[in-house]
């Protein structure tokens, strides 16, 4: 996994609450047995005017000019600004894979779906929780200023405008921060405790053999 330290990027606002993972990556694209290639179908039903299926030539499909990701001013955006409960619903990690594959590095919202929130960290993506009023301010600025960028400094736990006029602090669990900063493989870390796991397991299976 790539480490996440400091990231500066263009911000795209997705102004609706309760965006579910079905909308982020619709079910017909979950049939793949790979982790890559989902970006072209990110928000498929909102991004394109026709119905998408796996294997289509997406470059030739008609785009929905009203969907924010198709607005040229947000081309190349790497930070998604969202409303409350972003990523609710299905556990499909394909949603995080699709967002990463599209080019996103971080998400800012007042709250996230719990499973999606966890899935982000497993893929080197940073979901940031800011207050409703801070998010409102960012929506206003993103819409007001073309080319609005933010810098996310994970070590310092702050989101700021490049000129420093806005600075918002955010919380993150120390272990998650450590893994993200260093791009660590969690399975490798856990297996350092293999002996403790085995000892626990032996005791548990002795006490509850029906497991």
């Amino acid at each position: 996994m790539n480490p996440f330290r400091v990231h500066t990027g263009l911000v795209v606002p997705l102004d609706r609450a309760n965006v579910d993972t079905d909308s982020i990556i619709p079910k017909q694209f979950l049939k793949s047995i790979k982790r890559s290639g989902f970006g072209v179908n990110l928000f498929d039903a909102w991004r394109y005017l026709d119905h998408g299926e796996p294997g289509m030539d997406n470059a030739r499909r008609p785009r929905n000019p009203d969907f924010v990701l198709n607005d040229s001013r947000y081309e190349g955006a790497s930070i998604l600004l969202a409303r409350r409960n972003f990523g609710c619903g299905s556990s499909r990690e394909h949603a995080a894979w699709a967002l990463a594959d599209f080019g996103f590095h971080a998400f800012i919202a007042p709250s996230f779906g719990d499973i999606f929130f966890t899935n982000c960290y497993k893929n080197g993506l940073l979901p940031i929780v800011l207050s409703e009023s801070e998010v409102d301010r960012l929506f206003a600025d993103t819409q007001a200023f073309a080319g609005f960028k933010l810098t996310i400094d994970l070590e310092r736990q702050v989101v700021s405008t490049p000129d420093g006029s806005l600075v918002f602090a955010f919380d993150i669990e120390p272990f998650r921060k450590h893994c993200l900063l260093n791009g660590l493989d969690e399975i490798g870390l856990t297996l350092q405790h293999a002996q403790a796991i085995r000892a626990f397991e032996n005791k548990r299976l002795a006490e509850q053999p029906w497991i």
Partner: protein, 469 residues
């Protein structure tokens, strides 16, 4: 000793180690696996040269992608077939405690077959790469829906790396009125606390109304905990729990059963246990529910009308309501009973068990699906549920009434197979999500109980099942 919640007890008995910041290694007893969220996890193990830790914890099946008819023709969609065959290959290579592949008579929706086989037991930690894993909490288990990276982590280490959630008590006092089901109760809870109401919490459902529910109804409640934002839902163990489990394929027997029972009896919150958040509901107030929008929290009772955004003061909520009404093709203030439907889906991990089918059949018996209803599907949750229903003659009741009687699977709950809505079609569905496009691009989903779905199929529009003779 301080009083503990059921969640505290389940958590404490599975923590192997805990970091200073609260990140814990939680031992996982049961890992349920299906074809959609596991291939990348097994591939990850292969690429890293790792072996699964304990495949004896794994119970697997193919359910999301499998067709519900013409099983003799196999899986026609080549991409779906590849995914199902990939699961076959992974289980062949690594083994499992049990595998119920496509065409096996015990195959079915992973959250139906776990309990049905006695593979979900009280006191267990249960994970699955599926958000509706919360279902298994009905057995006083800590059941957690996880992503594919976590599936790989559990396969490789038998542990989940996680932090302890806050605890929420949802207590339902009194008894549910006749004609009102667990589905109506849980939808009305979501309507009140919202789809993010349980975020960051493990929810325990308790109170007289919950105690009175059957195990299958309790599974319906816990299944929908995730629609309230809670990764885990749970209910204390009692005699009803034990009666359900006894005699099932993987349940302990003889002396082991007695030992298990002695341990399971303590799986309830202590009387003075403290919860971070508590919500109290009166069962007597609950009426049959129908969703009107594109989020499970957008729900009203069958006696109500489609809400009017003009009466909503919060502008963000008003925008959301307007967008939902536009997608759903509904006008504000329309009585719910005036909404006509095109299709009906009775099935899913929420409502496809034998009691669900009995309730729907009781409404359908002796009637016929209305002319405006193009398709009314009944999809049993498993091969064993299907066989039981057929032994009771429910299939005949449904067929005589004009319903299609299908093979088990997830089917039109998420429409990965051929069962789906066409753009603009409106469906009365016993499933769990009314998100845009969930049951097919452009499809319009109204979530209801099995009896309400059957009633809508017969009338051609939503009806109050309490008024049906």
């Amino acid at each position: 000793m301080t009083a503990r919640t059921l969640y505290d007890k389940l958590w404490d008995s599975h923590v192997i180690r805990e970091e200073a910041d609260g990140t814990a290694l939680l031992y996982i007893d049961r890992h349920l696996v299906h074809e959609v969220t596991s291939p990348q996890a097994f591939e990850g193990l292969r690429l890293a040269g790792r072996k699964p830790w304990r495949m004896q914890s794994v119970v697997a099946t193919a359910d999301h992608n499998t067709p519900t008819k013409d099983w003799n023709r196999g899986i026609q969609d080549p991409i779906s077939r590849t995914q199902v065959e990939t699961l076959d290959g992974n289980i062949r290579e690594h083994g499992a405690k049990a595998y119920f592949p496509f065409l096996d008579r015990r195959q079915g929706i992973v959250h139906v077959i776990g309990p049905e086989q006695g593979a979900t037991l009280p006191g267990m930690t249960v994970v699955c790469g599926d958000s509706h894993t919360s279902t298994h909490g009905a057995f006083a288990a800590l059941a957690i829906g996880i992503g594919t990276s976590e599936v790989e982590h559990v396969l490789a280490t038998q542990c989940l790396l996680t932090t302890k959630l806050k605890s929420m008590l949802i207590r339902v006092d009194g008894r549910l009125p006749p004609g009102v089901t667990a589905k109506d109760l849980v939808l009305s809870i979501i309507g009140r606390i919202g789809t993010a109401g349980g975020s960051g919490h493990a929810v325990e459902f308790a109170g007289e109304a919950v105690r009175a529910l059957s195990m299958e109804a309790r599974m319906t409640m816990c299944n929908m905990a995730i629609e309230a934002g809670a990764r885990s839902g749970m209910i204390a163990a009692d005699e009803r729990t034990f009666d359900y489990i006894k005699g099932r394929a993987f349940a302990p027997t003889g002396e082991m059963w007695d030992r298990a029972l002695a341990q399971w009896r303590g799986l309830r919150s202590d009387d003075n246990a403290k919860f971070d958040t508590t919500h109290v509901f009166a069962a007597a107030d609950i009426r049959p529910q129908v969703t009107w929008g594109t989020s499970p929290e957008m729900v009203v009772s069958i006696e109500d009308r489609v809400p009017d955004p003009d009466r909503e003061r919060d502008s963000a909520r008003r925008d959301g309501m307007e967008r939902a009404l536009s997608y759903m093709g509904l006008r504000p203030n329309t009585p719910m009973t005036h909404i006509h439907i095109d299709k009906v889906f009775i099935g899913s991990c929420t409502n496809s068990r034998i009691e669900d089918l009995r309730q729907a059949a009781a409404v359908a018996r002796g009637h016929h699906v209305a002319k405006n209803v193009k398709l009314a599907l009944v999809v049993p949750g498993s091969g064993l549920v299907k066989a039981q229903a057929e032994a009771e003659g429910l299939d005949k009741i449904f067929r005589d009434a004009g319903f299609e009687w299908r093979e088990p699977g997830c089917s039109m709950c998420l429409a990965m197979n051929d069962d789906r809505l066409e753009p603009g079609e409106r469906c009365a569905s016993t499933s769990n999500r009314n998100f845009e496009g969930r049951q097919g691009a452009g499809g319009r989903t109204h979530l209801v109980s099995p009896a309400m779905a059957a009633g809508a199929a017969i009338a051609g529009h939503f009806v109050d099942v309490r008024r049906l003779a």
